[in-house]
Assembly symmetry: C2
Homo-oligomer: 132 residues x 2
DNA sequence: ATAACATATGAAAAAGTGTTCATATGAAAA
DNA sequence: TTTTCATATGAACACTTTTTCATATGTTAT
């Protein structure tokens, strides 16, 4: 039976992270090294948040429409056969995440893509789909 | 007052789509043309589904780990300090969507990226974050 | 001012997603 | 064969997200 002291591991000075591999017999990657190669957790969270925005049909449709032309809210709603309110809510999300921008002209508000990066990201995804 | 017949529109043969723009006074994009430029709805749904997969912290972390090395389930669980079950569930999602593949060696199952496309998609996202 | 209209927004309903827990499966070792 | 271990999976629960509905805001025309 294993005694308690055998479980102890001397950590790096400053108090660091346990090796954290499972105790299976096979070869494990160097966990310590691996942890250092990974981007910081917060960065990965941000990345997931970004993709989450693209991960909704309504938003993807809006973005694709805006690839072609600047449009007002009611035109987008008509195009997608959805309510003005639903579209407006999603446009707010897209604006908050800096994927679209808006300009007001009288009563109407026109939306357009904030930058060309959106096009690239959408294309990447489409390419992946086509190669499958 | 507008009479009923004025509302009628002659649609293309086969029964097609209403112009569907809002009745605001400003210029509208050519809705008919726009609809034809957009990818079919099903394709956009698939695209959103793909991004949805990347839109979760756990899955993004798993993918980033697998960029560096093939790993077994328990190592990933240890690396992310999550339960084996949670990781296994997510690996199933990633496998179903063809983003990772697995090979069995005795009791352990090793997971790795299905193709290099994953790397590209993740990089695109990261680039966008950095430029903001 | 008041009416008309495009858009925005809060709250609740409706739908969907991720983790946990308990347990099943599959493979090797005893 | 029985035990042990790594992984998989179904169901329940907690948590998010999206849409709807009612209504507010902001702008123009009357």
């Amino acid at each position: 039976m294993m005694i308690e002291s055998e479980k102890l591991v001397v950590y790096a000075p400053g108090g660091s992270i346990p090796a954290g591999e499972c105790d299976s017999a096979h070869e494990h990657p160097d966990m310590q090294a691996l942890r250092q190669m990974l981007p910081p957790e917060e960065r990965l969270d941000d990345l997931a948040e970004l993709y989450k925005i693209f991960g909704d049909t309504t938003r993807v449709k809006i973005l694709y429409a805006l690839l072609e032309a600047e449009m007002c809210v009611c035109d987008i709603a008509a195009l997608l056969s959805m309510t003005q309110s639903a579209i407006s809510h999603q446009l707010r999300v897209l604006k908050q995440t800096k994927l679209v921008k808006s300009r007001r002209s009288g009563k109407t508000v026109f939306y357009s893509l904030a930058d060309e990066h959106v096009r690239t990201i959408l294309s990447m995804g489409m390419e992946h789909l086509e190669e499958n």
